[in-house]
Structure formats: structure tokens, C-alpha cells
């Protein structure tokens, strides 16, 4: 018995199935499964489902209560409606991305703990970016910026969660106090997704360039999930109220100034989400109900508006208000359905916006925030002005630009129709929505006072618009005393807009480009490509830090023991010989002399081994030295004859300084080593046991082949590997030219490389 099917799982499963179905089956799958998720939600009672313990934390995948349920309803509903609208899309990737995105949103809604919330949160961000990217080549940069912002938000959120969990010891997702670093980081993470200024810029940056159908989903899920988590975690946080008000006004102002039709709607999302955030900030039951209800309604009518504009773009290919006009004749159905959405968002009675928006404002009023009420009302007026009047005027009415167009394909119309139907349904029967809300509702939108107020507001705005309209058409004569307010206002707004846009651009593009340039410069300085540079850095770093770390522990050299004159004449002689031949190797100006003195050094080192009582070593050293000198001499044939070189004095100083450092540190190191035989070594065991256990009297050889035979096994392996490597270097790529020519023919090499390859081939023949 499955106790509960997570709706997100349904979405993910659908996404997984999409690649395997075609035609009708695809349609059924795409629409049916989200709908199935919708109905499955109705079957399950409230409670916590899918509780696991991961890494000592209790993870709750499905917390079903009234608040999460209402969001889940609208998300699944929107999934179906959006899919209807998107049925004609050929790219299955879009469907998959949208489904995963929806699944992520649902997962976030039901997450009962912060960890799984974060996981779904990121799934959402990373699947939604595809919907932006499917908008075509122009959208890629925007998508990347979108992603970066969300990643930043995700990181804030993650940091906040970690700190918060560290403080409280629990990751349960309930009300989070907006105090302390953790709480604030979480809040910032949420607000970024909500599109709160000044972190909003991703929204109008990315949504207008997204794919036509993808934008529907984009406008539905991300911001509303943020509203949900804010309602869950930060209800009644006063700062949110003001953030919300700012959002509401800010979005509307920009919407009015915007010409790109989808960008206008994107700014509107900010404005509308502002209402919800403000409602959450007020925090009374009524206000939260209002916020939730508004989210519900908003998803549907904003999707409807986006669909409408999407259809226009789909059919005409034009995105700017000034390029469009007079489409009501050629796209009548689209126009009609769009207007339903437009009236809804403005809060016209008998449409869904009316019953939800007024609830937020009433909530603020009931909680005695008159200023908030005033500002929100102002924003509502602006919404009407821009969405319901300006946009349709520019696109559908206005001057007929003679654009050839028709109503979009049936599925798009159907999608819009469904959304419009729900808008009207909710407006007429508000209780359908009200009974879903988290708190019991005692609110009646259709009182005379509300109706009157709304109509007044709408009429006043309409009046304003008709006056404002003349401003848009300079050829019409207008009287100065009626319109100067608007004219001044527009000028002022435009002045405001430019610097703000400047900031926005600075934040994204310039920052990333600057980062790239900066990295390139720094990186080229660090990784200069010179071997010498690297060697100087590495060697001096190791030596200096070795020196410092032992200095800080305190040098304990007792010079007395070192000054003991137990040095024999032969030892002294060998030491002097080694030193002088080393210096000769360094200083000789002829390469044969230098190599031979290296050989001499080796021979003297072998003498030293003799003095140390190591005949085996001495023999080996002699022979190795002989063979390697011969090898080097053989190699002379292939190396250039010049040996002396001119070095700049500064560079020479560096060399001398580094080598002095190495010499001094190693000298001191050796002094310390000689001074500190602490414990008896394990040697006595070998001396005792070698004859008894291994049957050999030459203890060194016994150690090599018996006690430490494993070393020797691998040592001869190293020897063979070196031979193999040399074999590879000298033998394997003798016929190099043809390979290069092959590559050259494939067109992947630069011209010089090709010429060089040809040259090589010619000379090799």
C-alpha cells in the first residue's frame, strides 16, 4: 500500500517518460499526469509523509497541510493548463524541463525540512534555466545570468540553512526568526527568488527572452514558491511588508515605461508578488489568506496574460508594443481572452483578481497600516493602467500596423480558454478559493464598499489613461494644463530609469566580464609559463617554510658535539674533493668539462661511501656514474653545442639567492639531523637476523633482497618504466608528419601548424 504519492514524483516520472512517447500519447501524458497529480492531492489527508533520516537529520519530503496544499493545487493545475498551451512544441526538452521544473516547485512546497527544500529549490533553478535557453540564441547570456543569480541565492540559502541548523540543531522548516546571520541569509535566499528589489533584475532580464511556452511556467512557479516559503517561514516579519510595497510600486512603474510586451508583464510579476509579500509581512490571518489567494489567482491570470502575449509573438514574431497594433481584428479570440486576464490582474469585480487583491489590501487595513494600504492601492491603479489599458491598446487596438496574423493554434487557445475560465469561475464563486486557504475565511469581497471603491479606482485610472494616451500620440493636440503632470512624471521616470538600468548592467555583465579579464591577467602572471619561475617559487617556498617552521619550534643545536674533531684526513680530503668538483660542475664553461666534473663528483661521493663502510654502494655509484656520464656524452650528439649563456645580473642575483637559501637550509637541516639521534635504530635486528633468517652475511644485500625486497621489486619496475618511457619517446612517434597531416585535412589545425607538418614530412623523406 502506497501511503502517499508525491506529486513531484509524478512530474518527474512524466518527464522521464516523455522521450518515449509520440503523438496522441504524448498529449495524454503531458496533460493527464499533472492532472492526475492534482486529483491525487485531493485523496490524501493532511500529515507528514516520506520521512527519512539522512545523516542524522530528519528529512520530510511530504508535509501536507492547508498552506502547502493550496499551492500544490494551483501548481498542478497550472502544469496541466500550461501543457495544453505548450502541446504544439516539438522540442521534447522543453517539456521535460518544464515538468522537472514543476516537480521541483512541488517538491519545495511539500518539503518539511530545509535540506530537502534546498534540494528541490536548486532543481527548480537548474531546470528552469532551460526554459530561458530554449528562447533561442539571444537568451543564452541572459540565461547564464539568471542561473548565476539563482546560484548565488541558493548559496545564501544553503549557508543560512547550515548556520541555522547549527544553531538550533534541527532542520525542520517552520517559522524562522529573521534574526541572526542564518535567518537573514535564508530570507535573502528566498527574496531573491521572489524578485525583491534590488535583487530582482534577473526576472525582467530572463523572462522576456525565454521560450514562448516556457515563460508561462517561469512566471508561475519560481516567484510563487518563494511566496510560499516566505509565508511559511517569515509570516509577520515587518520588513517584508515594506519590501512588498516597494516591489508593488517599483514593478508597476517599470511596467508602465516598458515597451517590450513580455518585459512589461515580467515587471508586473514583481509588482504582484509585492502584494503577496506585503500581505505576508502584515502577517494577520486575513493578510496571509489574501497573499495566498492572490498567489493562486495571480498564477492563473498572469499565465493567461503571458499566453496572450506569447501567442502574439508566436504569430507575428514582434516583441515591442510600438511595432504592434490593431491586432484585435486578426486575433479576436486572443484579444478577448487576454482581456479577461487583464481585468483580473486589475481587480475588476467578478474576476479572480478582485477577490484576492482586495483581500490583501483589507488585511493591511485591518492591521492598521494605512500607508501600506494607500501605496498598494496606488500600485493597483498602476497595474490597471499598464496591463489592462496600455498593453492591449498598444497591441490589439491602437494604430493598425497592417500586420498579417491570425489566432494561434487550437491548443494555445484552449490553454488560454481554460485559464480564463478559472479566472472567471473564481471571481464568481470566490468560496471555491476561500475554502482552500490556510485560515478560516470570514471575508466577503462583494460588499458595496469594495465594489464602489474598486470601480472608482478603475474609472479614475481609465480617465487618466485616456489623457495619458494623447501623450503617446504627439500628433494629437493636447492641452497643457491637463497633461503636464503626466508629462513631467514620464520625464522623471525616465530619468530614474537610466541610472537604475546602469546599475543593473553593472551588476551582471560587467561584473562577469571584469572577473574574466581580471582572472586572465592574474592567472597569466602566476602561471607565467616559465619553468624557472615555477622552480624558484617552489624551491624557495619549501625551503623558507621548512626554515621558519623549525625556527619557530626553536633550534637546539649544541655546537660542542659538532666541533668534535673525529674527522680523519681521508674524510676531510673526500669532503674537499666533493665540494671542489661540485663547484667545478657549476662553474665550468665547457659542457664536456662540466659533465666530466659531475662524473668526478659521483666518483668522490663513491669514495665517501667507502669511508662510510658501504662497499656495495661505492661499487654501484662508480658504475652508475660511469654509465651515466657515457649516456650524457652520447646525448651530446643531439643537443646544441653551446653551453655558456648570458644572464642578466638581476636574474643571476635571484639564482644565487635561491641556491644560497637551499644550501643554507639543507646545511642546517643536516646539522639538526646529525645532532638528534634519539633512539636506537632498528639496525641491530638486521645485523642479528640476516644470517639466521635469510642466509646471507652481506647484510646490505640481505636487506635489499629480503627484508626490503618489496622496495627492490618496485625499484626494478621503475627502471623498466624509464626504459619503456625512453623507448616511447624515441621510437613511438617517429612517423609524426602523417598524423599531423590527417589532422590538418580535418581542418582543425592552424595554418602554421599545417605548413610545419608538411615541411616535416618533406624532410623526413
Amino acid at each position: 500500500m502506497i501511503e502517499w504519492i508525491h506529486p513531484a514524483l509524478v512530474f518527474f516520472a512524466t518527464a522521464a517518460l516523455v522521450p518515449f512517447v509520440k503523438g496522441k500519447g504524448k498529449s495524454i501524458l503531458l496533460i493527464g499526469f499533472p492532472a492526475l497529480a492534482f486529483f491525487s492531492l485531493m485523496l490524501f489527508p493532511d500529515g507528514n509523509y516520506g520521512v527519512f533520516t539522512i545523516g542524522g537529520f530528519e528529512v520530510v519530503f511530504g508535509r501536507v497541510d492547508k498552506l502547502s496544499r493550496v499551492f500544490a493545487y494551483v501548481f498542478t493545475l497550472m502544469g496541466s493548463v500550461g501543457m495544453v498551451y505548450a502541446l504544439h512544441v516539438k522540442q521534447k526538452g522543453q517539456h521535460i524541463a518544464a515538468l522537472i521544473y514543476g516537480g521541483g516547485a512541488l517538491g519545495s512546497i511539500f518539503a518539511g525540512d530545509l535540506l530537502s527544500l534546498f534540494v528541490f529549490w536548486e532543481i527548480m533553478a537548474f531546470s528552469s534555466v532551460f526554459l530561458v535557453w530554449y528562447g533561442g540564441e539571444k537568451s543564452w547570456a541572459n540565461g547564464l545570468r539568471y542561473l548565476m543569480v539563482h546560484t548565488f541565492g541558493g548559496l545564501c540559502l544553503l549557508g543560512g540553512i547550515v548556520i541555522f541548523a547549527g544553531q538550533t540543531g534541527s532542520i525542520a522548516f517552520n517559522a524562522i526568526p529573521a534574526s541572526g546571520l542564518g535567518g537573514w541569509l535564508i530570507l535573502i535566499g528566498f527574496l531573491i527568488n521572489a524578485g525583491a528589489p534590488p535583487l530582482h533584475a534577473w526576472l525582467p532580464d530572463a523572462y522576456p527572452v525565454g521560450s514562448i511556452t516556457g515563460t508561462i511556467f517561469l512566471s508561475s512557479f519560481t516567484t510563487k514558491t518563494a511566496v510560499y516559503v516566505l509565508a511559511r517561514g517569515f509570516a509577520g516579519t515587518e520588513v517584508l511588508m515594506w519590501v512588498g510595497v516597494i516591489m508593488a510600486l517599483y514593478g508597476v512603474v517599470y511596467a508602465m515605461l516598458e515597451n517590450n510586451i513580455r518585459k512589461l508583464l515580467a515587471y508586473h510579476i514583481i509588482s504582484q508578488v509585492g502584494f503577496m509579500v506585503a500581505g505576508i509581512g502584515v502577517g494577520t490571518e486575513l493578510a496571509i489568506n489574501g497573499a495566498v489567494a492572490h498567489a493562486f489567482a495571480h498564477i492563473l491570470y498572469k499565465a493567461l496574460l503571458m499566453m496572450g502575449m506569447g501567442s502574439v509573438i508566436f504569430m507575428t514574431g514582434k516583441r515591442k508594443g510600438t511595432e504592434l497594433g490593431g491586432l484585435y481584428r486578426t486575433m479576436p479570440l486572443t484579444f478577448g481572452l487576454f482581456m479577461v486576464g487583464g481585468f483580473s490582474i486589475s481587480g475588476v469585480p467578478f474576476l479572480s483578481g478582485f477577490i484576492s487583491k482586495s483581500m490583501v489590501i483589507s488585511g493591511a487595513a485591518a492591521a492598521h497600516y494605512p500607508f501600506v494600504v494607500l501605496l498598494l492601492t496606488l500600485a493597483a491603479a498602476g497595474t490597471f493602467l499598464s496591463t489592462t489599458l496600455k498593453l492591449p491598446y498598444a497591441v490589439f487596438m491602437g494604430e493598425d500596423k497592417g500586420i498579417k496574423a491570425a489566432d494561434p493554434p487550437g491548443n494555445m487557445l484552449l490553454g488560454m480558454g481554460l485559464a480564463a475560465f478559472i479566472c472567471i469561475l473564481l471571481g464568481v464563486m470566490p468560496n471555491l478559493l476561500y475554502q482552500l486557504l490556510p485560515f478560516p475565511v470570514d471575508y466577503h469581497p462583494y460588499t458595496a464598499e469594495h465594489l464602489l471603491g474598486s470601480f472608482q479606482l478603475l474609472l479614475a485610472t481609465l480617465l487618466g489613461f485616456t489623457l495619458f494616451l494623447y501623450k503617446l500620440h504627439p500628433e494629437n493636440t493636447i492641452s497643457v494644463d491637463t497633461d503636464w503632470v503626466y508629462r513631467k512624471g514620464v520625464v522623471w521616470f525616465q530619468q530614474l530609469k537610466n541610472p537604475l538600468q546602469g546599475i543593473k548592467v553593472l551588476r551582471y555583465k560587467d561584473f562577469l566580464q571584469g572577473l574574466t579579464l581580471f582572472s586572465r591577467q592574474v592567472s597569466q602572471r602566476i602561471q607565467s609559463g616559465y619553468l624557472k619561475h615555477a622552480l624558484v617559487m617552489i624551491i624557495s617556498f619549501v625551503m623558507l617554510s621548512t626554515l621558519l617552521f623549525s625556527l619557530f619550534k626553536g633550534w637546539t643545536l649544541s655546537l660542542d658535539s659538532l666541533m668534535q674533531t673525529d674527522l680523519t684526513l681521508s674524510q676531510l680530503l673526500v669532503f674537499v674533493l666533493i665540494i671542489s668538483s661540485t663547484l667545478a660542475t657549476v662553474l665550468f664553461k665547457s659542457r664536456i668539462a662540466a659533465v666530466l666534473s659531475l662524473g668526478m663528483t659521483g666518483f668522490f661521493v663513491a669514495f665517501f661511501y667507502v669511508l662510510m663502510g658501504a662497499p656495495d654502494l661505492a661499487l654501484t655509484q662508480y658504475l652508475v656514474e660511469a654509465v651515466s656520464v657515457i649516456l650524457i656524452l652520447l646525448a651530446f650528439y643531439y643537443l646544441p653545442a653551446y653551453f655558456e649563456e648570458k644572464t642578466a645580473p638581476a636574474s643571476k642575483m635571484t639564482d644565487i639567492a635561491v641556491s644560497l637559501l637551499v644550501g643554507i637550509v639543507m646545511t642546517f637541516y643536516m646539522l639538526m639531523v646529525m645532532d638528534s639521534h634519539l633512539t636506537k635504530s632498528i639496525a641491530s635486528y638486521y645485523l642479528e637476523m640476516s644470517e639466521k633468517l635469510a642466509g646471507g652475511r652481506n647484510v646490505v644485500n640481505v636487506v635489499i633482497v629480503d627484508f626490503r625486497g618489496f622496495d627492490t621489486m618496485f625499484e626494478i619496475a621503475v627502471f623498466s618504466i624509464a626504459a619503456l618511457g625512453i623507448f616511447g619517446m624515441l621510437k613511438l612517434n617517429k612517423k609524426k608528419a602523417p598524423i599531423q597531416r590527417e589532422a590538418a585535412l580535418n581542418g582543425s589545425l592552424k595554418r602554421e601548424q599545417i605548413e610545419e607538418a608538411v615541411q616535416r614530412e618533406v624532410t623526413s623523406k
Partner: protein, 140 residues
């Protein structure tokens, strides 16, 4: 370098070197010597020949495959000696010792499995050194 004196010295010295290296190899467990030294000494003898007579004396580069298999075989020999220790019930590289009466010199010589291991080492060192020489020589 290919003077007559050098050639004739080589003719006498290198066989002595070879024989001496074999002695070093076999007595390595008891006296200074062992696989490394013996291998290097044999190589030194071969190098002398190479220097005196050039590439032609042994047809070095035709034998490069021989030297390749020489060091691979040496490696295999040492490895198998180690494995043998594992199969006779000990651990990897477990060595055993046997005392054998030598027929003519009437001495009891110890033969340790480590000796076989050392022979592997010897082969590897010889093979690699000579391979290097031939590889570098062949480049011309």
C-alpha cells in the same frame, strides 16, 4: 675513441668484467655485490664494447627486441619468485634457503630464493642499460 689500443683493451677487459660480474651476482648474498652491481658491471662491459666497436659488433639495434624481453623477463622472474613465496604458504616475497654441497670445490653454498630474485634484478639492470644505449645509438 675507436683507437686500436682502446679496442684491444676492451677485448681483454670486457670479458673479465662479465665474468667478474657473474661472480658478484652469485656471491652477492655473502660478499659485496648483488644483482644491481653485477648488472651494472655487465652493462659497463657491453658499453665498452659499444664504444670501441660501434653499433656493428653485436648488431645492436637488431637485438633491441632481445634486450626488451631481457628486462621484461627479469622483471617477470623476480615477480614470480615473490609469487612463489605466496604459493608455498608464506607471504609475497617470502624467501627460502637451501644449502647445497658444491661438487668440485667442496664447499657448502647456500642458495636462497632471494638469489633467484637477485638474478631477476640483474637481468633487468642489464636489459635496461643496454636498451638505453642502443636506443640512443640508433637515433643516428
Amino acid at each position: 675513441m675507436t683507437s686500436l689500443i682502446f679496442k684491444s683493451i676492451t677485448k681483454t677487459v670486457s670479458p673479465i668484467l662479465m665474468i667478474f660480474s657473474l661472480y658478484l651476482l652469485l656471491r652477492g648474498h655473502q660478499m659485496p655485490g648483488g644483482g644491481f652491481i653485477a648488472g651494472l658491471m655487465t652493462s659497463a662491459g657491453l658499453v665498452l664494447i659499444y664504444l670501441a666497436y660501434g653499433c656493428d659488433f653485436f648488431d645492436w639495434h637488431k637485438r633491441s627486441r632481445f634486450f626488451y624481453y631481457l628486462f621484461s623477463g627479469g622483471l617477470a622472474l623476480s615477480f614470480l619468485t615473490g609469487l612463489a613465496g605466496l604459493f608455498i604458504g608464506g607471504t609475497f616475497l617470502k624467501s627460502g634457503v637451501a644449502h647445497v654441497e658444491m661438487p668440485f670445490i667442496h664447499e657448502s653454498w647456500e642458495f636462497a630464493s632471494a638469489g633467484i630474485f637477485d638474478i631477476g634484478v640483474y637481468l633487468v639492470v642489464c636489459g635496461v642499460c643496454v636498451s638505453l644505449m642502443t636506443l640512443l645509438g640508433e637515433e643516428e
